[in-house]
Structure formats: C-alpha cells, structure tokens
C-alpha cells in the first residue's frame, strides 16, 4: 500500500462520510469501547447535520452598543462558527454597511482574551484567580446576599451599577434580578445625555427627533457638538445627500473633528459657550425679524419674554466675546440659518456634558423653534428619541419577595428607561443614588452602607469619574461581582467575575435612540466557554437563592432568551412598526410607520401648555430658570481645558482592547496645539504627564492644530494591557439637568481642566 498523502488525509477529513469510514474496520471491532485511557473524548460523533462546504447559515443580529446607529446586522455562520458580519441591506439606515467597530465583531466572539469561566480573585487586584463552577459562584454570591439580609434586615446593602454595555432589552433583566431579590440600592441616572433630555422635555414635553433619513430634505444643517463621521457613520450619507442637493453643512465644535473636515463651514466655538453663540444668533435673527412670527404665535408660549431677554441681555458682540466666534461670522450663519427652509440642528451629546449643558440645549431648541423649524421634515432640533422603545420590559419588571423591606419614601425614575414615573405612597422602594457620583455615593451612603456591588453592562473603573476616589470606594465594599466579556479595569478589581455572552450567543431585540428601525437579535452560535446571558445568570442565582432560602428570590430559575425576547413585544409596539408578530423580524429589520418624519408636525406639544415653551414653569419647578437663558460655564480650575471625547476605534471602553483595533490605534495620546506645546518645550511624540487636582495620566503627546490652543484632548478608552485611564483626570461635578427624567443629574465630563509637562 502506498503512503497516504497529506492531501488525501485532508480530503478524507473534509467529508463526514469518508472520514468515518476511513478507519472503518478498526472501529467496527469495538476497539473504542474498551479504550483504557481516553478520558476527555468519548465514543460518538458530532452533529451529522454539519457540512463543510456550501452555503452559510445567516442570522439576524442587532448591534447592542450605546451608539446612534444601532445597526441591523446579518451574520454568516458555517459549521456553528460565526465567520463574518454585514450590515442588513433591508434597513435603509444601516444600508448594508457597518462601522470599523461592527466589522470587528467576529474577533470579539473568538478572541482568546475573552473571560471564559466564572472565577474568583483571592484579593482584589492581586491577579490571583481561581476557577469556579457556576454552582460554586452562585453559591458564594447567594450566601453573601443572604448574609447581608440577615445583618441589615433589608437588601439595601446590595447595589447595582449597570448602564449601556448592552442595550438589548432582555438585559434589563439585571434590574429585574435585583427586584426579584428585594429592595436594593440602585445607581441611577446616566453619564450620557440626561441634561439635554430634560431640556427637550421642558421645551417640548418629550424628547423626539426627526427621522435622520429626512436629512436630505434639509437646506441648512448645523451639526453642533457631535462627530457623526466617527460616532454615527451611517448618518453621514444623509448629510452628504443634503450637501449634494445644495444644502450647507456647518459644524460647530471646539475641536476640528472628522465631521468638521466634511463640512462646508467650521465654527470653532469656545468649549461650553455654545449657549452664548446660539443666543447671539437668536438676537440677530430677532433684530432682522427673520424669525417665524406666525409659528411662535400659534405654537409657543413665552416667546415675547424670550425676545425681551435677548434685547436686554444679549448682543452679538457679547456672544462673540463669550464664544470666541467673530460677530460677523455669528451674524452670517444666523441669517443663513433663519432664511433656509427647512433648517436643522443636530444637537450632540458632547455639548451638553457641561454645568450649563441643559441650559445650552434649551437655547439651541429655541433657535430652531423661533425660526419655525420644529415639526418640519428636514428641520428639527435633533437630539434623540425613545418612542420606539415601547417594549414590555418583561425581564425588568420582577416582583420583590413578599415581606421584603426597603427604602421608605417616594421613588423617582431609575434611569431613562424607567417609564414607571414617580411613585408615591409606596411602602418600600429601592434606594437610589447618583450613578455619576458612584465613588462618592459608595463612600457616603450609610444605614446601611453599600456592602456588595453588582456590575453589569458597565466598566465603572474606566468610565466612571474620579478613578482615584473610586478605588477608595471599592475598599469599602465587601463583595464586588462583575459580569463581563473581557478583563477590563473593573474586572481587575472584582472578587467574582462571571462570563457573559456576546449578542451572537443569545436572543434579544434592539431599538435605536436615533433612527426608527427595530432589529431582532437571533442567537447565531452557541455560547462559547461557559458564558451565560444576563438573564440566565439571574436564573442561576435565583435557583441557588431558593435552595438556600426558599422564597428569597422571585426570578424564574430557568429562562430561555428566545422566549424572553418574545415576551418583550406588545401590540402597541408591533403596530408602531406595522407588523403582526415579532417573528416577522426574522425576515429583516422594520421601520416605524411614522405619520411624518418630523415629530410635532401637528404643532401640538406634550408640555403642560400643549405648546412649545420658551418659558417652562416645569423647568422652574425642577430648580432651573423658567425662561430659556444663558448660564455661566464652570470656572477654570487649571491652566488648560481637558476634553475626553469618543474615539473612532471604540465606544466608551469597548472594542479598543481587540487586537484588530490595536493594529490601527495601538496607544493613547494627548493632543496638544503646537503653540501650547512649544511653550512647555513639548515635541511631537514626547512622553508627557497630564495632571490636575484629580490625578495624572502619563502618555505620549501628538501636536495638532485641530485642537484649540487652550485645550488638551485625549480619547477615552480601555487599551488591553495599558494602565491608561482618562478618568484619573475627570471629576464628578454634576451638569445642570438630568434629574427630571433619569433620577440624577448628568455630569460635566467636558468641563475639566489640567496642565501638561514633559515626563
């Protein structure tokens, strides 16, 4: 017999029939049954349905990141392995493409760096980890919870920090898990968008935005404090389409962003002075009588008061002096904006992360409103929307065990996705503390203190503010449990880590806060390693809780992510999207059936007056000025401004750790204006130390005139294996608004200051 070649072996192995008959006679003798030594492998075959050659199986997925675009994805699976992903062609928003991050998803699932098993650290930060079985992990956690309940008489010593690591709707089952255990402490609010959210609610009675797909109808567009070229790449095609049809694109930003590079005109505003700039425009429009008298008369209240304020307190020269934009330039864009119909402003989240952020959003709203652009297709003060998020929140809405004791008093909203409103006259409630001051709240909270912290969908040691203080706060915690996919800086400080599934390994449903598409997320592959979804973790915990103390947890002890996804739909939500069953989403994403691409097109608002409110008593009742007006920014506390915006290669602390991203962006930099650098003797590439009252960061400098001379910029992010953390330089000062709709004020991320020296 001639030697069997490698090629022949490979050909034989490729075909299940030929490979199983290859050793046929040998195996038929039953040799395997009496094999002495094989311990891991066992007699048997893999699923015979698998094929090696031929077509891919496709699945519907939805990007669950905290991102404008919330892309509809088609995933391609072969032999049970995810091979590649594409944007779903059915969605005219995603339109068949993904961003640089989305295209890396295969790498996320199959990265050798993934957290694979439940593990326990023998001393936080020691790196001494032991594997646990799921049963062992749940036992340790359940016993700690029961111990806290026995000690304090309630579970207020158990706190949850969860935010936007996954916006799949069943992930609200983490909040549900907490409720199913009892009344707990919740870190509420959001670091993202709450000031602007409150502002739009005061002005219009809700936060609704034009369909971004109607941007091509705009004749004039101002992108104000947003960078969609990086953070909403799918919106760019609509901006371009408008430009091609003759519209002007103006970008207002302190930083010359990639979006600014694509604009027709770039306006470099002084950080935090967006309100002054917009008020100068409003004053000029008023002086030239270019505002929409008919619209403000019919559909608003308080305009006369606003006009009087403008005449009395605002001049275009004042606006120029405050904003750093020349008066002639302010006048020119004001005139162009007011005379273009329709004209629109995209109000970015970056511009409201200030102590005057909510006030500034109200001013931008007013600018759009007084020019008659609210309620117009192609117009609008575009910020965000949540009207497509009308799910059942089945996973979230769990009942506390009977006889649970909790916080005594009224309970406000627990974040922006808590639609249950303010509850009064309840016997017990959860205790709410401010998520944007997590460190301080853990340090301050007493009776009972926060003893145990559960972290899900969040990397608090990369994303929460004042990291040095956070490390101190962690010292106070008796147990920290983190559910995550990668070993980030929070997992480093955990006692127990639990591996969670990627969205390809579970069922879910996702809506966007920007566009109007709804996407199903099908399980495309089996969970790798021992990863479980957040609700499967809740079920496993409930099982152990009830074994140790029957009745101590109401969460079901078995869940199926598909069933639970199905239970998130209701008739109203299905009707909004014009489908009769959620299963129709398996054919592709669907778009909400909107009567108009512009909200408020009937001129009726959801405010108490049913009109647009330049003067809002509700706003005053919430502790702010009733009238739209200027609010001073934060006084400088160091020599230079510090900005820590989103990177192109990540969303918050996600993605940058993947080697595919590191190939393009291997280390963090601080970006410095050449003049500022020269004064400090700093050259391009020099190692520097950036420092302020919070802490310091050491990294390399890059010199660029894209940042203003008074500004240092470093992109937030978590780099695998690097200690870099911009939260060593960001304090936890609140922004002005956010409590009304999210239960806690936002945070002034972009009102930070620092200095830099050569290291």
């Amino acid at each position: 017999m001639s030697k069997i070649t490698k090629q022949e072996i490979e050909r034989i192995l490729e075909n299940p029939v030929s490979r199983r008959s290859f050793l046929g006679g040998l195996l038929a003798t039953g040799a395997l049954v009496i094999l002495p030594s094989c311990r891991l492998l066992r007699p048997g075959t893999v699923d015979t349905g698998q094929v090696w050659e031929g077509g891919y199986q496709t699945f519907r997925n939805a990007c669950s990141r905290n991102c404008y675009d919330t892309c509809s994805i088609v995933s391609y699976v072969k032999n049970g392995v995810l091979k590649f992903v594409e944007g779903a062609p059915e969605s005219s928003f995603t339109a068949g493409g993904l961003c640089v991050k989305g295209n890396s998803y295969v790498r996320r699932v199959y990265s050798p760096d993934r957290i694979k098993y439940p593990m326990e650290q023998q001393g936080r930060g020691t790196g001494k980890w032991k594997r646990l079985s799921w049963d062992e992990a749940m036992d340790k956690i359940a016993r700690k919870i029961l111990e806290i309940k026995a000690r304090d008489g309630s579970l207020l010593g158990l706190a949850l920090s969860k935010y936007s690591g996954s916006f799949g709707i069943t992930h609200y089952g983490v909040e549900g898990m907490m409720s199913s255990l009892g009344y707990t402490t919740r870190l509420v609010g959001t670091p993202c968008w709450p000031a602007g959210m409150d502002a739009q609610n005061f002005d219009m009675g809700n936060m609704l935005c034009n369909d971004p797909e109607d941007l091509p109808l705009a004749r004039y567009m101002i992108v104000w404090g947003a960078n969609p070229a990086w953070c909403s790449v799918h919106s760019m095609k609509f901006l371009y389409a408008a430009q091609e049809a003759g519209a002007k694109l103006v970008v207002v930003d302190p930083v010359f962003t990639q979006t600014a590079a694509k604009s027709d005109e770039y306006v470099q505003v002084r950080t935090g002075e967006d309100g002054a700039l917009a008020l100068g425009m409003c004053r000029h429009i008023l002086d030239r009588s270019l505002y929409d008298k008919e619209w403000v008369t019919a559909h608003s209240i308080g305009f006369d008061e606003f006009a009087a304020y403008l005449r009395e307190h605002v001049t275009i020269e004042w606006a120029a002096q405050k904003s750093g934009v020349p008066a002639s330039h302010i006048a020119a864009i004001a005139e162009e904006f007011a005379q273009a119909r329709p004209a629109t402003i995209w109000i970015g989240y970056g511009m409201q992360r200030h102590v005057n952020g909510g006030a500034s959003v109200r001013i931008l709203d007013a600018l759009v409103a007084m020019t008659g652009n609210i309620g117009k297709p192609g117009g609008g003060a575009r910020y965000a929307q949540m009207q497509t998020w009308g799910f059942n929140y089945h996973a979230k809405n769990q009942k506390q065990p009977e006889s649970s004791k909790g916080w005594i008093g009224a309970s406000g909203p627990k974040g922006e996705f808590d639609f249950s409103g303010v509850k009064e006259n309840v016997k017990y409630a959860d205790r709410t503390i401010n998520i944007n001051k997590t460190a301080q709240e853990i340090l301050d909270t007493k009776d009972p203190q926060v003893r145990m912290l559960w972290v899900a969908c969040k990397n608090i040691l990369s994303q929460d503010f004042d990291r040095p203080k956070m490390l101190k706060a962690f010292n106070k915690l008796e147990m920290v449990v983190v559910a995550d996919q990668f070993f980030n800086q929070t997992v480093e400080q955990a006692d127990i880590v639990l591996p969670v599934t990627t969205f390809f390994e579970e069922w879910n449903v996702n809506a966007s806060y920007w566009h109007y598409w709804l996407s199903l997320n099908e399980q495309a592959v089996k969970p790798l390693h021992e990863a479980k979804s957040d609700i499967e973790i809740a079920a496993a915990l409930s099982k152990r809780m009830n074994e140790l103390a029957p009745g101590s947890c109401t969460f079901p002890t078995t869940v199926d992510t598909k069933d639970w996804t199905a239970q998130e739909f209701n008739k109203k939500e299905l009707d909004l999207f014009g489908i009769s069953s959620w299963e129709e989403l398996r054919k592709g994403p669907v778009k909400a059936k909107l009567t108009s691409s512009a909200p408020w097109s009937d001129g009726v608002f959801a405010t108490p007056s049913k009109k647009y409110e330049f003067h809002s008593d509700l706003c005053a009742k919430n502790g702010h000025d009733a009238l739209v007006m200027y609010k001073e920014g934060r006084p400088a506390y160091d020599k230079l401004r510090l900005l820590t915006p989103h990177s192109k290669f990540g969303i918050n602390s996600q993605f940058q750790n993947l080697d595919w991203m590191a190939d393009f962006n291997s280390e963090p930099y601080v970006y410095i204006h050449p003049r500022t650098a020269a004064l400090r003797g700093i050259g391009h590439g020099d190692a520097v130390r950036v420092f302020n009252k919070v802490g310091e960061v050491r990294l390399a400098a890059q010199l660029t005139a894209d940042v203003p001379p008074d500004t240092l910029l470093m992109y937030e992010g978590w780099y695998k294996g690097l200690a870099f953390n911009c939260q060593n330089l960001v304090d936890d000062l609140s922004s002005d608004m956010g409590s009304f709709k999210t239960g806690a004020p936002g945070v002034a991320i972009h009102d930070q200051f620092a200095d830099v020296v050569r290291a």
Binding site: I4, I9, I12, L13, E14, P16, R19, R20, F22, L23, L26, L27, T29, A31, L32, V33, I34, L35, P36, S37, C38, R39, L40, L41, R42, P43, G44, V46, W52, N79, G80, V81, V106, R107, Y110, S111, P112, D113, I115, K116, Y117, M119, Q122, G127, K128, W129, K130, R131, S133, F487, V491, E492, V497, P499, K526, P527, L528, H529, D659, G721
Partner: protein, 246 residues
C-alpha cells in the same frame, strides 16, 4: 508495572473529579459513564497488563493531558507530581515546590484568564491567520476525532483544538496503534502529529517560555511537552525558539 499503573490511577481519579471538561449535561451522562467505568484503578491495571506496555511516554502523555485539563490547583499539582516522578527536571530543581494555590494562579494567568492569557492552549490561535478561536484548525481537530470515532463532550463550548483534548486524542491513537496494525491509522496519526500538533505546540511552548514569572513546575511541564513531541515524531527537540505571537 502494577505500582506505576496504580499511581497513575490515583492521580487520574483526582483529576476526573475536578476536570473542566468532564462537566456534562444530564443527557450526556450515559455515554460518559461508559468511559468513566473503566477508570477504577483496578481496571486501569488490567488494561495495562492487557496492552502489555505502558511506556514512560504514556504516563507523561496522560499526565500532560491531565495537567492541561485541570481546573484546580490540586489536579495541577497531582499531574505535576506524576510528571516530576516520571521525568525529573534535568537541573534537579524541585519543580513541585510551588503550592497548589500558586500553581493554580500561574496556570490561570498563563492559560485560562480571566485576563488576556500569554499562552492560549488552542491550536487555532497559532495556526490560523486571524489567531482567533474556532478557526480552521479547530475544525481539523474535530474531524480527526470524528475519524477516530470519538468526540468532545463539551458540545462546542470548549474549542476542539484545546491542548488537553488533542493530547487525549493522542492517547486514543496510542491505544489503537498498540492493538491494531493499520496503514490508515498510521497515516492519520502521522498527519495529526506532523501537520497539526508539531505546527503549533512548539509555538505554544515558546509563549510559555517567554512569559514572565512562570513557576518552575510549569516550565518543566512545557519542556516535557516539547520532549514528548520530539520523541513521538523522531525529530530533534526544537532548539530555535520562535517568537511568541501573543
């Protein structure tokens, strides 16, 4: 011979209770019990007699497999102890001086996580162009197992090209070769050894050798893994250490 077999049976019993990969879903228990029923020390002893030869190499292979399949420090230490006894370190360094806990922390840091591991024990990380899990090399390992008539009980949650599974397949090959003359079997083993194991295991060993703070016991395991591969293949031990890809 009897003493040797009894010893290895004792080790294996410990491992069997703690091994990551024996965790099976209820419906899989039946199949598993067929295999585990052969694991009483007496049975092992009988099989050893039947086979007529348990080479030192087999003890080493089995212990290497058990080491990489281990999920706690006791199982790791037990496998190390057997390996040290069968093949003492050349420099006489007491390789098992580390406590079971220290061994476990280092093992997890190198091979398991939760952090990014410097030496992932999966073939595809070294052989596939993307250096990810569940690649073409993973499929090849599964196909070889399928040709042998065995499969992994992990139902896909543990990639089929995990080193412990591949070493277990080597054990199967050894056992089959010991009792049957088959050109096909020889060819398949030759392929699995030369076109698979030998292509990635040296790279894996290099990653261990280049990692910081590797305990002597794990260094010794890595050396024995290299030596086993050389002996199997008749090739000289790899002296040129390729750069670690991680």
């Amino acid at each position: 011979m009897a003493a040797l077999a009894g010893k290895s049976g004792g080790v294996l019993n410990i491992v069997a209770r703690n091994s990551l990969d024996c965790v099976s879903s209820p419906q899989e228990n039946t199949a598993w019990s067929i295999v585990t029923s052969f694991w009483a020390p007496k049975k092992i002893f009988c099989e050893c007699i039947y086979l007529g030869r348990i080479l030192d190499n087999d003890i080493i292979l089995i212990s290497l497999r058990d080491f990489f399949a281990a999920r706690d420090g006791h199982a790791m230490a037990a496998a190390c102890a057997t390996l040290t006894k069968a093949a003492p370190p050349a420099d006489g360094h007491p390789a098992s001086a580390d406590t079971a806990d220290e061994l476990e922390y280092a093992f997890n840091r190198l091979f398991v996580g939760p952090g990014a591991v410097p030496a992932p024990p999966y073939a595809s990380v070294y052989l596939d162009p993307d250096h990810g899990l569940m690649g073409e090399s993973t499929r090849i390992a599964a196909a070889v197992y399928d040709a042998l008539g065995v499969s992994s009980p992990s139902n896909g949650s543990l990639p089929d090209d995990h080193l412990a599974l591949e070493l277990d397949a080597a054990v199967v090959f050894h056992a089959l070769k010991a009792r049957e003359q088959s050109a096909e079997l020889a060819a398949l083993w030759d392929y699995f050894l030369r076109d698979h194991l030998m292509l990635w295991v040296p790279l894996f060993v290099a990653c261990i050798k280049q990692a910081p703070d590797v305990p002597p016991a794990i260094s010794h395991v890595a050396s024995l893994l290299s030596a086993w591969l050389s002996e199997e293949s008749g090739a000289k031990p790899v002296t040129h250490v390729p750069p670690c890809i991680n």
